[in-house]
Symmetry: C2
Subunit: 364 residues, 2 copies
């Protein structure tokens, strides 16, 4: 891949450009906002000069609803041999491209699973996609040349290609990303109903649950709108579950204390909660391992500079790799409890070694 | 406080006993399971011998539905001068105690906000309540003696007392704890509907959101059942929000592309998401500060023992205290990105100092 046009120089577009530059590809940066394009240029992501010739690939890093019109315009100008995009929704852009009469033989939709709550070229980096899944959704007309070119792009970005059809992709992200985001936002919004003083009673659980509700409202509205039908279907099923649970609870609230209805209601509630625990355990953790492959050693840590460093140095001295860290602290607490996750078979040894080094370690 | 009876030697009861022992109070351990009581005794939490005399306070650390019957039985035996409990629901036990004819002058309900997903005496510790809020819900008949005795208990455990009425307490925990727990369980259960292979597309957000769904189903069923009416009310409002959002999305999916309905639908969606972000920002962070008082420095960290230790040592060397840590890694990634949260006004300095020490630091 000798030449590429990056259309849209936000976080994803600029990061793709940086990765391609690092691999020696000549990148041409295009953005309707000339300041954004020049910012990406200043970061070393390529040149804002027009490509002198047809480029090997054009990467459309624009919002989902802009993919089809931008594609149509680029194809009309004959900018590239192959076109791909990075939108987190895949069916809508394809339908719109078809409606606009685009030539789909040279097109492969894509979706790199990277980025976070923030956006813009300033936080772009060449390694943003390193080791991440990058979904490609070739359609029936897609040529082998186009697919291979997209696979090369993914490889140059250090990502792992995942081939899916557009419908499967959109259904999956509706369940694992789009619907959970909206659900968390709606749950967090409920907190506006209570007096702020009682929010002191909130624990770490609530902070975890509502974290993603902090994402950009306008960006997420775009994503949700582009996958609206499938997200609505997930929300419908979910709302039905919530209403059923509410009914079950109301029966428990009004039922006689020890009657068979109460017992049945309690059993149904336990079953719902168990299904939640089962659903949670299906999420792959780091390296695709189930999270249960790791266990935590819980350590009390003082609230002064260097305490965590001392702890982590001691963990390293034992030869343990830290897979994850949880720091738990509540409203008024000056000292924290740190959960250090390591591979399961190192837990007992690590706990013993930390105790020898005078750490207050909880549990087994 | 010279003598106390701890009734129920699970995580909370045993931790209370350990804290009281550390303060010099003689503690008598009672549990319907003699093995649990002897385990707590072996941990140094007190004696399993019967108190020779009336104790100063009895702490009922039993499930919500057991509080009233146990209270009635203890009062009949004249075990203590003052009684309190630690159940996470407060109205139901009081109503049941009244119905059983208990003497409420000597009773103050309580709820220490501590503990986590795990339970049992083995993970108990004297400092479990250190700096945590501990709600007390005196009722009209509660004597000043009883309230002062409960306040002394809270002080001996190192917790911060918060006086509330039972109804306010139950409404607050329904919103900040009980309903979010069930919502997350139901959301996590939805993951059972999708093919496990597409769960590769799950990101850190989904892991955060579903974390609390990993709690004990039977323990949470007990808690939810005891606060069933108020939790059901929260779920009803929430389900209505979800259904409204689903309707809005369906209109977006079927509406014409650029019509005024679509614009209005998009605006409503942004507003919902904004309310979620606002709700999230009302949760107090560490020390009661809003979370926004802290900012993150994001650093790329290799996946070998000692990398985190080296990073944290460098942060400490700069004199920064780490307030929180996020480690982000996806399915296939061998290197992590660590977000180190520090007080906002240290962020730029810390980022600069870490860059000088050859760390790859993102953002400003």
């Amino acid at each position: 891949m000798r030449t590429a046009a990056i259309v849209g120089t936000g976080l994803i577009g600029t990061s793709v450009a940086l990765a391609l530059r690092a691999g020696g590809t000549a990148t041409h940066l295009i953005d309707i906002d000339p300041v954004a394009a020049r910012t990406a240029e200043a970061l070393g992501a390529g040149t804002t000069e027009k490509p002198p010739d047809v480029v090997d690939i054009a990467v459309l890093a624009v919002p989902p609803t802009q993919v089809a019109p931008v594609l149509a315009s680029l194809q009309k100008q004959g900018v590239a041999r192959v076109y791909t995009d990075v939108a987190s929704v895949k069916s809508l852009p394809r339908r719109e491209a078809e409606a606009l009469g685009c030539d789909l033989t040279s097109v492969v939709g894509g979706h790199p699973l990277a980025g976070g709550e923030r956006s813009g070229p300033l936080i772009a980096r060449a390694d943003l996609f390193e080791g991440r899944p990058w979904v490609l959704v070739p359609s029936e007309p897609t040529s082998t040349l186009a697919l291979n070119c997209a696979l090369e792009l993914v490889a140059l970005c250090g990502a792992t290609p995942v081939l899916l059809d557009a419908e499967t992709h959109d259904r999956a992200v509706a369940v694992v990303s789009h619907a959970p985001h909206l659900i968390c936002s709606l749950a967090a919004a409920r907190l506006l109903d209570v007096d702020e003083s009682v929010l002191r009673l909130a624990g770490q659980g609530l902070r975890d649950v509502t974290r993603i509700a902090g994402g950009s409202p306008s960006l997420w509205a775009d994503i949700l709108a582009a996958n609206a039908g499938l997200v609505a279907a997930v929300l419908d099923s979910f709302a039905a579950d919530v209403l059923e649970a509410a009914d079950g609870l109301r029966q428990l609230a009004h039922g006689c204390d020890e009657g068979p209805d109460r017992v049945r209601g309690g059993a149904r509630l336990i079953e719902s909660l168990q299904r939640g625990a089962d659903g949670r355990s299906t999420i792959p953790g780091k390296y695709g391992m189930r999270e249960t492959a790791f266990s935590a050693v819980e350590v009390a840590v003082g609230d002064s500079p260097g305490e965590l460093a001392r702890l982590f140095a001691d963990v390293a001295a034992v030869g343990c790799n830290i897979e994850d860290v949880d720091i738990e602290h509540s409203t008024d607490q000056r000292a924290g409890r740190v959960r250090v996750f390591v591979v399961r078979n190192r837990v007992h040894d690590l706990a013993a070694q930390l105790r020898l080094r005078n750490w207050v370690v909880q549990g087994s």
